[in-house]
Amino acid sequence: MAFLAARRRHPAARVLLLLIALFVMGALSTLLAPSQQSSADTGTSQQVTEGKALFTVQCSSCHGLNGEGQTTAVIQGPPLAGVGAASVEFQVGTGRMPMSQQGVAQAPVHPVRFSPEEIAALAAYVATLGPGPAIPSPEEYDTSGVSEEDIARGGELFRTNCSACHNFEGAGGALPGGKYAPSLLQTSNLHIYEAMVTGPQQMPVFNDDVLRPEDKKAIIAYLNDLHSRPNQGGLNLGGLGPVSEGLWAWIIGIGGLIIFAIWIAAKGVKAK
């Protein structure tokens, strides 16, 4: 220590101390701050700016320049303050927005028009308009570790809360006036989670305070399990219940019997 104490007034000491302090602070900040920033949920100012630019071009004709929304005879754009980043990720990420046509019963699914970065920027910008549900983190909807018990509970929750509209298999169903509950067969875990949190279109909200995150995860795990299981009963005809089964029985089943009956009773070829 004597070596250091003797040189504490050396002209280089200050500079060195400053460098050491900076190094320590830098090391601490790298250790303590989150090492990886997920691109979507932390809205950096750069992202927000990009998002606002995109929004102005792509969304503002219906939702207003500042997302305030507008309701005229031709254009129905709901206000976006408070819908949250999750809502934007769901609507744009499934291709429901931007809507190409007004006046339809509900926004249909289209091919997605934006890159993941653009969607993240849009979500970050809309999230600044008012507090709303954030995009869930991957561990919230990753169902790899869910136990069989929780999958069974997810099934109970699904049948209680979801099957009224989305059908007992998640195959979707009709609502009044041309509206419909979409099929969940191809829907990603993230989008199922976001739909529950945000309640898009006619769907009610199932927020995390009431339907807890572990309940949501159980529901998603149940759906994945249900849809990955091979059908031991043969063709399930879309899992739509009596409609497709009735069509099959009446047209293919009874139609086949009629053809056989006609063949049995037909006169056939005669020699003369």
Binding site: P176, Q202, G234, V269, A271
Partner: protein, 369 residues
């Protein structure tokens, strides 16, 4: 006088007046003559031995494939694991059951087609006529039965010793009593008091917390957003088990929704039944009692999937479409001192479907306040 009567009386006059003979039973006249039976023509297989051989080979081939399929079934049963499955396009089916079905089904179909082809092409081809006749037995048989009956009555001495017949009749009538008494097992008589204690009441009572169905997580008023739907139950349902649980659940199921209070109609008498736009209704349709939770958050309409009855939850649960005759019963709710939703009382009207004795005078109607 109608055309028919006029021609009939004219015909009569003609017959009596001039004395010419009238044919009372003329041959019936049809617009098209009866062509009779078509000429019987032999089949190709009747005249051409080669065609007959060909048909024989067809039938024998179909029957011959059946044992192969039967063995295929047996092999599938033992050799194909239950876990194997076909994943091809929209097909995502278990391999074993598919193969079992295909082999057994095809085998039966081939036996059937082979038998029909055999009958059509090779079995004897003569035509037969089988006339209809009366369904009654002939007179001799009927007379024989009557005399036998009379002889039996004589021999039983029932006409001379009348007490035998009467006591037997009494015995048979008395056996009706156990039959009638056992009808009591169809259930207790639904008296007014019994109805009030069973189908007209639920386990909802003042201060019972509203909880989520399945998870029993209590519902905090501040946690509900506008547009939120909760499928709920009373907290005291947790204490029940078995039949009691199911019977209670069938009546006490509720849905809790939150709507913007400025966009819905809340009548004056129900202002204190809700908490800031959070309303609670019975989940059981008033038509035939299906559970309903198909709620559109933008229109506030609740649609029953069974018969499309639609209730407006933004207007006291009134029926806006469909066969339901009564508004959906609303549960008066408030918050307890911890901020959780609790019932202010039980339902004010019986929940669930209609039944004969149900008094619908207390149900909410259009225009009530």
């Amino acid at each position: 006088m109608s055309e028919l009567e006029r021609s009939a009386s004219a015909g009569d006059g003609h017959a009596t007046g001039t004395g010419t003979e009238v044919d009372l039973h003329p041959e019936p006249q049809y617009p098209v003559n009866d062509p009779g039976h078509p000429e019987h023509l032999p089949r190709l297989t009747d005249v051409d031995e080669k065609a007959a051989d060909r048909a024989t080979r067809q039938v024998a081939t179909m029957f011959g494939i059946v044992p192969v399929l039967a063995i295929g079934f047996a092999v599938t049963y033992f050799a194909v694991p239950e876990t194997a499955y076909i994943d091809f396009g929209f097909l995502h089916v278990g391999l074993q059951h598919t193969l079992l079905g295909v082999t057994a089904g095809l085998a039966l179909l081939l036996i059937g087609i082979g038998a029909v082809q055999w009958a059509r092409q090779l079995m004897d081809d003569h035509e037969m006529v089988d006339y209809r006749h009366s369904a009654a037995s002939d007179r001799d048989d009927r007379e024989y039965v009557v005399t036998e009956l009379q002889k039996g009555t004589e021999e039983s001495k029932i006409t001379r010793r009348k007490v035998l017949g009467r006591s037997l009749a009494g015995a048979l009538v008395a056996m009706g009593i156990p039959l009638v008494v056992s009808f009591a097992d169809l259930g207790p008589w639904p008296t007014k008091r019994r109805r009030a204690a069973t189908i007209e009441t639920t386990i909802w009572a003042e201060g019972v917390r509203l909880v989520n169905d399945i998870t029993y997580v209590p519902i905090k008023a501040s946690d509900l957003e506008i547009g939120q739907l909760v499928n709920g139950q009373p907290e005291n349902l947790k204490d029940l088990e078995g039949t009691e649980l199911l019977q209670a659940k069938a009546k006490s199921s509720i849905i809790v929704v939150r709507m913007n209070p400025n966009t819905i109609q809340i009548p004056a008498s129900r202002q204190d039944w809700q908490v800031g736009g959070i309303l609670c209704y019975s989940k059981i349709c008033t038509h035939v009692g299906c559970p309903i939770s198909l709620w559109e958050q933008q229109t506030h309409h609740l649609l029953c999937p069974c018969h499309q009855s639609t209730f407006d939850l933004g207007n006291s649960g009134l029926v806006v479409f469909g066969p339901a005759a009564r508004a959906l019963p609303q549960l008066p709710i408030t918050v307890d001192n911890e901020g959780y939703l609790v019932a202010r009382s039980g339902f004010t009207v019986p929940v669930g479907p209609s039944y004969f004795e149900r008094d619908s005078r207390n149900d909410f109607k259009e225009g009530d306040n």
